[in-house]
Amino acid sequence: MADAGEAELAITSCQLIDSGWDDAWDALTASCPHTGFMQSSDWMAFKRLEGFITPRFGIFDASGTLRGGGACLFYPSHAQETMVICPQGPILPWAETEPSRHALRLLIAEVEKYVETHGGLGLRIEPRIARPVPRILRNWVRSPVDLDPEHSLVIDVGEPATEQSLLRAMHPKGRYNIKVAERHGVTVRRSTNMRDLRPFHAMFLDTSNRNGFFAEPYSFFVNMASMLFPVGMAELFMAEFDGALLSAAMVIRYGKRATFLYGASSAHNRHVMPTYAMHWNVIRAARAAGCTEYDLYGFDPYDQPDHAYAGFSRFKRQFGGRLFTAIGARDLVFYDRLADRIAEKLAQMED
């Protein structure tokens, strides 16, 4: 365990990489199954609009080839109390214990250098890998929050699946409801027009009010859409009936995966099953775009009645799909930096 294997020697360095590396970075992350859109250069550009600083660390092998790394989010704080977050990352050779341990150590060292000047109490990672938790994360603690849902429902939409096989794999009720929507004449419009953002957001707020979850404000979507619509990474799917918008989805496509990131639906005319028509269209569009996966995102696999995703899960289950359970976000706390701040607080309290 103390000794490094052969493959470990291949990775030699980690360093901050700038926008000149965007293409190489995106090529790497788009082809890596253990990560997703949150590591892309465009998503990071969106996050910069949201006020984040986005340091990106590249991991290189002896030949100078980019092999992995992590694009991070860092929200500047006056009091320097913040975490460096590597969403859906880092990109490491997760299947091989020693090379990934070595690479992760190099990354940690760079992040520690970074926080010395920028502040920060720890590093949070959230690679898209399934359980069991890799043993190299033994000294990392489970984070209090995940940016990605722990459980998600994924439909394999790529070859060899066909539209017929996908329909067959659905719950009969799901398949039936797609037909119901078709019979009622529900249409699904795809849009990357900013004008559609406002009706989408109004419905999204309504949905959050109905279902009791925190909704991102309009400004968040303005920033997201203005950055991701033009590059084709985000798209709205809007199901309409009788000229009225009944449901909408903000879908993100990156690499081989399409993700149902935000959904909104009206409480009216549910009998025409607009959401079924909408998702079926998303699935077909994902296939046409060469995606192999459609990630329906948050899901409760245990049918728990009080689960936050209970209602959504009952609906999503109609589309078939397989459960993906991630290891969840993990924190490496920089104890010395945390101790500094705690000592300060304790002294304050005594005053």
């Binding site: 968040f220 409480a267 948050g298 706390v333 607080k345």
Partner: protein, 830 residues
Amino acid sequence: MNIFIDELEPPTEAATQTRFALYIDGDFQFDTADEKVYHESLALPALSLLHAHKPGPKRVLICGGGDGLALRECLRFPNVAHVDLVDYSPEMLELAATQFAAINQHALEDTRTHIHICDAWDFLNGTLPYDLIVCDFTVPRKHEDTRVFSTEWFEALSACLNPGGIIAANTVSPQTTPEAFWCLMNTLRAANLKALPYRVCIPSFRDHGYGAWGFVIASRDKRFTTLDLKRISCPVATEQADLSRLWRGAHFTRAERALAHTAPTNTIDGGELLPLLLNPGLAGIEAGGLPDLDTPYDLNPLFNAIPIAHPYHTRAMIETLAEQVAGSVRDLDIPRLIDAVIKRSSRLSSRIVDELRKLKEFMQERVLHFELFSAWSYRLFAALVILMTLANAISPDNAFAKGSFSGGAHGGFSVSHSTGMHSSSSFGKGSFGAESGSPGGSFAGRSSTSSFGGQRGSAISPSRSFSSFSSSRSNVLSSPVSPHFTGTGFRTSYGRGTAVDINGSYERARVYNYWGGSYGHPYTQVYGGQRQPAQQQQPQPHEALFLASDDMSVLDNGDVVVNVSESVYILLTNGTAALMSAGSPDPIVMLYPDPELFANVRDQLAQQQSSVVAAASVRRDWLAWSGWTASFLPTVRSDRDELRNLTDLIHRLDLAQQRLGTPPAGNANPGLKPGETELFIGCVIRQDGTIALHEPDGRWLSTDLVTIKHNTDTHPCPPVLATAVRSALDRVLRDIKSGIKADTADLQQLRMDASELNSDMNQYVSIRDMYGDSSYEVDYGTDEIPVSEAIFKTRQNLNQTETETRATEADIEKLTTQQAVLDAAVARYR
């Protein structure tokens, strides 16, 4: 800079221009429909006062305002001879010269206009003095944005004013962020400027949640007063702002002005403004400061004191996040942290250091029980929770997280989880050192793994605890403390066929059809659909109006119902509890009115009512100010509707508490006997499979759903009771099955963890034996630590995993037993 022009309405015959709204980095700036209310209110009062007090040609400086709209207003004054417009954004100035040219009336092309693309700070150096300086900056989102709202900034401006010159600035909302507003007034005063603040109602600002907007006129030498505004005479006509009413906006109540006594001044280094902007109502709490810990082990003051660090966040979000953090900080390597803090002993008193040392010694062998220590360990915990919450809260995304974790095996490695089984109890807001097994849990105790983030008010998430889902009682009693009023459901949904909860979430209202009035004396034995006296001809349909909890609703007549299933509910009214069916207006059976249950329901209603009262008071304040615009502004009309709805709800909650009544003092509910399972309040399934119902007189009647045995009498069991019990059985059985499913997944994970830990342990032991040196360093995750320490930690982790495995197995066993009882009951009573 991200500029987004949101096209709202295409040109029409009436309006030849497209109506649009401008957003910068996602933040709303103006809507062309009412931008003149803002820009006229910003520039014209100061220009009018200047016109009256200081005749002659004027030099004007506009800082910010690259859209050219404040410039348009200035240029309307004929004696404005020269305007310098300074904005750092070439994109915005380009828009002003092109797309906005029609609305700014080509102000940038005016010969008096001089454009400067630079930072306003740089421009001030060495510039000629001005008669009027207009500041039109966006509202600060980050600390660096507050530099142009600082004492240093206003001092620099003051130095650039001609004698008699005026500064006109936009500020922040005195309504939604009063502490920040008065901080700015103090900042102006600290820069030796005499300031006259006023506020204006701008509908589009209100729509975006900005509230009434604040402006200020400031001067080095003259103190302008409300009277000056009252007498204001504007030589140019306004189109949207009503300057004759402006003086009203300059009137602030004594209570409002009192905030100026405590508000700080904003300096560049101090950064006082942003925390106040983000934390209205929390004036005086320094970012990351600590609450007064008068009540040890009460987390509420802690949560309340954690400041908001991002404009996207609300207090409810931060408190939800803090709860999640509080549930997970114990997973940190506390001994290592304590060691690191002790190393900083030069900054700490010997008292703190001594206690930290004791804490460290105690932790060598055992899991962490902070509550066994005195106040300083609590303070350590407090500091830890605050810091880690801040670390999480600073990142805007975390509040919208798609999941959360607060300990337990479910999330993977048990190694980092000192204890924690989801199915044993839930982590409760507001409790720190609660007794083991109490609903609150404790810092060192067990916590729920399923309190998913993003669920407003989800302080308690007992979703997989059998003890909670098996009983409607538990859900009724487990409402969050200090509920927050957050949603817009009271504007859009209340009383319109939907039932709204305190968070504004809503769902279609259920209708409950039953005979009006009370169901008699609590000791009346009513079962089997005994009809009410015929004082009413028809049963009355009552709609659920307010969702007090997941299972409990307040109806339009003030009665409280607890839903058992889709078709069965318990009606609590006038100190009685009646089991009701949606299909019949008569009680199925009267139940024991547990005084504790009634007291808890009343408490919960009272808490929610006080939240609504506070929310209504804020809205009343707003409408007192802007209500006159309701006749022509739809948004203000909906504010008025919302206030009416809130007021109505306050009365109904009053009524609900009255109608709830008080049951006669009786024996406390004895709780469940071994082998019993609660189906709903007042109904248990016994070990032998019979169903027992708790009667009003405290005795129990039993039924096999064919007959009812009451004392020595036997009656046929009414079909409606049998149906109700069957539906409750189905619901509880479904919940038990999902609990077993989740537990089984946990168990699988725990066994996988144990296998990995055992394999690591074997390797560590063999390394130690091979080298014979316990200080030999080995990999432990991404750390390298002495092999002895790795063995110690791995053993601890194995012990914890084992404990959790045993607890999960026990839980599965318990649930399986209950499932067997339920299965048998379902088969028997099918």
